[in-house]
């Protein structure tokens, strides 16, 4: 029963990935002027255009092109950038590590921080700590990511000079040096992502706390700590894992803004630059990477909530 649902959900995820790839691929088909035209410019002779089209496979019907494109994508051949003619895989290869490094560190800090703060707020609802946490996070979720970023830059980097405002990595720094350089973007992302996670963790636990079995536990004289940790948290684990996965998906969006602000040489910055120069193949490749990560994270969230349901885990 449970495994059926999980398998079904994975099936749906695969279909979604496919739909995403079709939509992203469709971009090249909708736009006036194909890749060859864009690459060679308006002055190109019809012969050279035809030659390049043949070279790029653009003379084939669209579904063949799609299959070729997706095949290349999977094997890591992402095509050639319109601007400059470098291979996209080389462009991305340089950047993707940076993005993964930063998001990994953000995740490692934000997840435990959020769960702990969310738990603390839920343990003492209405008390001072809870009020500070809820109003603080309410404010933070309502402001744009760049709002947090520019204030951190202004106060921590410019006014106090504690950390650098621009996050340029040469690739030779030590781990701690990298962290220092990345302090601001990491800090910003942690704040932005945690605000949501804290609120949702708190809401998840409070939701469980209002159920009759918690009231029963209180009436049995179970101490508050045990009620939260054994009775409530056990039932809230599913929702919390769900929240975490969902918010890591938001991280995908946050990264775009943050990398741009701090001029951090990551994948998202590359993509934004691509959008500005209308470098479609590059945007497609980056878009595919971000969107598939997103779909996979959402998938994990769904599977987590299925697996955490005791009715499904222990069938009759």
């Amino acid at each position: 029963m449970m495994w059926n649902m999980v398998l079904r959900r994975i099936g749906v995820g695969i279909v979604l990935l496919w739909v995403v790839s079709v939509l992203i691929f469709a971009l090249t088909q909708i736009l006036p002027g194909d890749a060859a035209q864009i690459r060679l410019g308006q002055q190109a002779t019809p012969e050279s255009l035809a030659a390049l089209r043949k070279d790029l496979g653009l003379d084939k019907p669209w579904y063949i092109q799609y299959v070729t494109w997706i095949g290349n994508l999977i094997t890591g051949d992402l095509g050639i950038s319109n601007a400059g003619g470098a291979t996209i895989s080389s462009l991305i290869g340089n950047r993707i590590g940076n993005t993964v490094f930063m998001t990994a560190i953000v995740t490692l800090i934000a997840v435990p921080l959020s769960v702990v703060l969310g738990l603390l707020a839920a343990m003492y609802p209405g008390r001072l700590l809870d009020r500070i946490i809820t109003s603080g996070t309410l404010g933070l979720i309502a402001v744009p990511d760049f709002f947090v970023a520019i204030f951190l830059i202004l106060f921590l980097a410019v006014q106090l000079g504690l950390v650098p405002a621009v996050s340029y990595l040469s690739g030779t720094e030590s781990f701690w040096k990298s962290i220092y350089v990345l302090a601001l973007p990491i800090g910003t992302l942690v704040i932005v992502v945690s605000a949501q996670m804290i609120r949702m963790t708190r809401a998840g636990i409070l939701n469980v706390m209002s159920s009759p079995y918690i009231e029963m536990a209180i009436l049995k004289g179970v101490p508050r700590k045990r009620i939260i940790l054994r009775h409530a948290l056990f039932n809230a684990i599913g929702p919390i894992v769900n929240v975490i996965a969902l918010n890591l998906a938001y991280l995908v969006s946050g990264v775009v803004v943050i990398e741009t602000i701090f001029a951090y040489p990551g994948l998202a910055k590359l993509m934004v630059d691509g959008v500005q120069t209308r470098d479609i193949p590059l945007v497609q490749a980056c878009g595919m990477i971000f969107c598939s990560t997103y779909v996979v994270l959402i998938l994990i969230a769904d599977i987590a909530s299925i697996m955490s349901n005791p009715r499904l885990r222990h069938p009759k």
Binding site: E215, I218, H231, F234, H314
Partner: protein
């Protein structure tokens, strides 16, 4: 009473208890207004009252607990001398579970779905250091045995959703009893159960309370249940004590006018000759509504049959101006039957006839005139009335829709209908949220009447109401029947209500009609074995009934194991005491008519005489 030194101290003393609600930014609202009573060791005290009487709030006060939003505002609650309003949180935690334990109405909601039953049952005793885990587990298993739970050695290792509702209710009793508390608080512990299950649970509770010798507070709205289990009864109304005294005295000789009213509203036990049945004067013309060979269910299988079949080969006839009661326990398909009649759930086989002509199965295909003639009254008036519409609009809509009545005339007509259901005309301008439960149910009825129907389908219209309010609604229905001459299909799980109101009764079990006929015939022998069990399970309002019944009961039925829907054989086979192995579980039972000639049918493999028919004795 003279020598007080010999008398053991009271387990619980409640003096002038006051509790109030403190809504945000509004003056406090008193909920409990000075209640006093005592619980002696070993005594079972019942708190009885309707919703809003404060009975649950008072019972929780014994644990020093108030629901969120409620606060103690006066008086004292002394649990073995300690004031539960004042003790420290730490001490309160110790007392809860160790000295006083709580049993809630819905066990399904009070068990944590993520933890094993055993852990939850023993948790309190182990946490308070009263026992080691092993001792507690052993004690729990003893209790499982005492409560007649199946598989006592292993049931603790299961999760709550893996056992039945009746079992959970008993497991909750075990949870409360593990640490041998001196006071048990039971809050409507059998209300959510079917009658045949309720009596098992009741019996189990009574037995363990006696064996353990603990005192108890039993909260309920059901006097008949109270009479079985309580020594002392406290009658509450509006947060005040109306009357208290021994169970014997309250039941046989109530003093206060409120108690008398409460007693009067309790429906008598179902026996033949109760109602003003018109079954005798059979009008042999075309029935108002007829259901023929209907099979129905939910979902759609490949072969056009439903995935889950709820009704099988059901035949019901509603004579003009008659009341047909449809009775059965939850899950038997009685609401589904009404939905099939109304066309809300199209039957997959069989047909519904109105005035002799077949109706299309689905409401979408039925003609407006046909729809007008069959009206549905929903169980929960709370959800059946659109909260955003005024009462006048709710009642006026059928008039507009079916009869094209508008303007002044419409307002006049709405006023007349409000009057018919005994509501003041000013209600037309109110919204449903401004009405009480009983008033809403009247509006619900009024809306159906406004269509000027021939058949009214009433689905459990009194079961969500308090005793007195419900009794009033039944009175209203009787008046309406006499005044308007409509036929009623009256669906209920409560045999007493059906017995006092219906002309004919149809007994449903697991989607099949197991017995039907005029009410007096159905309520007297011969019985279908299930009907017999049903009748025997309705508690009578007298002290000592439970003990008497339990002695004869073993012969009546096995312990309820939940209803099984079967494709072959008799659905009651699992529980039937007179089942014929090899026949009943293989072949669909035949329909037999008894010799009375009144049209009394029983679906059973046993001959009518074997079932207590003419000249026969009760089956061995």
């Amino acid at each position: 009473m003279t020598d007080t030194s010999n008398e053991p101290a009271n387990v619980l003393e409640v003096h002038d208890l006051m509790i109030e609600a403190r809504p945000h930014g509004a003056p406090p609202i008193p909920i409990v207004k000075g209640v006093s009573f005592d619980v002696k060791p070993g005594q079972v005290v019942a708190l009885i009252g309707e919703s809003g009487s404060g009975k649950t709030t008072i019972s929780l006060a014994a644990l020093g607990y108030t629901k969120p939003g409620l606060h103690f505002s006066g008086g004292e609650v002394l649990l073995q001398g300690e004031d539960m309003e004042l003790v420290s949180d730490e001490r309160k935690r110790q007392l809860r579970g160790e000295n006083v334990a709580y049993l809630a109405q819905s066990a399904a909601a009070t068990f944590n779905p993520a933890l094993k039953i055993g852990e939850q049952v023993t948790e309190s005793a182990v946490l308070h250091g009263a026992m080691t885990q092993e001792a507690a587990t052993q004690r729990a298993e003893e209790l499982y045995r005492a409560l007649e739970l199946p598989d006592p050695d292993r049931i603790g290792g299961r999760y709550p959703h893996q056992v039945s509702g009746g079992q959970l209710q008993r497991l909750m009793a075990a949870m409360a009893l593990v640490s041998r508390p001196s006071l048990l608080v039971l809050d409507e512990p059998t209300t959510a159960l079917d009658v045949t299950t309720q009596i098992e649970v009741l019996k189990a509770f009574k037995k363990v309370i006696q064996e353990e010798g603990s005192a108890a507070i039993y909260v309920t709205h059901d006097l008949a249940v109270v009479a079985q289990i309580a020594d002392h009864i406290v009658v509450l109304y509006g947060g005040k004590v109306m009357e208290q005294g021994s169970a014997e005295q309250i039941v046989t000789n109530p003093q206060h006018s409120y108690t008398k009213r409460l007693m009067a509203a309790v429906r008598p036990s179902p026996v033949a000759g109760l109602g003003d049945s018109m079954a005798g004067d059979h009008l042999r013309d075309v029935p108002a509504l007829e259901v023929r060979d209907v099979t129905a269910g939910y979902g759609k299988g490949a072969d056009g049959k439903p995935l889950i079949t709820v009704l099988r080969d059901v035949n019901v006839t509603i004579e003009r101006g008659h009341v047909v009661g449809i009775i059965g326990e939850s899950g038997c398909g009685k609401s589904t039957l009404a939905r099939v009649m109304a066309g809300l759930l199209p039957a997959s086989e069989g047909e519904v006839l109105l005035d002799g002509h077949a109706l299309p199965p689905s409401v979408k295909e039925r003609k407006r005139e046909d729809l007008q003639l069959v009206q549905f009254v929903f169980q929960m008036a709370d959800t059946a009335l659109n909260p955003k519409q005024r009462i006048g609009d709710i009642i006026g809509r059928p008039l507009q829709f079916y009869h094209n009545v508008h303007g002044r005339e419409l307002r006049e007509e709405v006023r007349r209908i409000l009057d018919l259901v005994e509501l003041p005309a000013v209600f037309a301008d109110r919204f449903p949220a401004e009405l009480s439960g009983g008033q809403k149910q009247r509006v619900n009825l009024a809306r159906a009447l406004a269509a000027r129907p021939e058949v009214l389908l009433c689905d459990e219209v009194t079961s969500a109401l308090d005793t007195i309010v419900g009794a009033n609604v039944i009175e209203l229905l009787k008046n309406l029947r006499d005044k308007t001459g409509v036929s009623f299909v009256f669906i209920s799980h409560d045999l007493s209500t059906v017995a006092s109101f219906a002309d004919e009764v149809v007994v449903l079990y697991a989607g099949r009609v197991v017995e039907k006929g005029p009410v007096d015939q159905v309520l007297s022998p011969p019985f279908h074995p299930y009907t017999r069990l049903l009748i025997a399970s309705v508690p009578e309002l007298r002290v000592g009934w439970l003990e008497e019944t339990m002695q004869t009961r073993e012969a009546l039925a096995g312990i309820a194991r939940g209803v099984t829907l079967t494709d072959v054989g008799c659905p009651f086979f699992d529980r039937c005491p007179v089942a014929i192995e090899g026949t009943c579980d293989k072949l669909t039972p035949p329909t037999r008519e008894d010799q009375s000639g009144h049209g009394h049918y029983i679906e059973c493999h046993r001959e009518v005489v074997e079932l207590g028919g003419a000249g026969a004795t009760a089956p061995a």
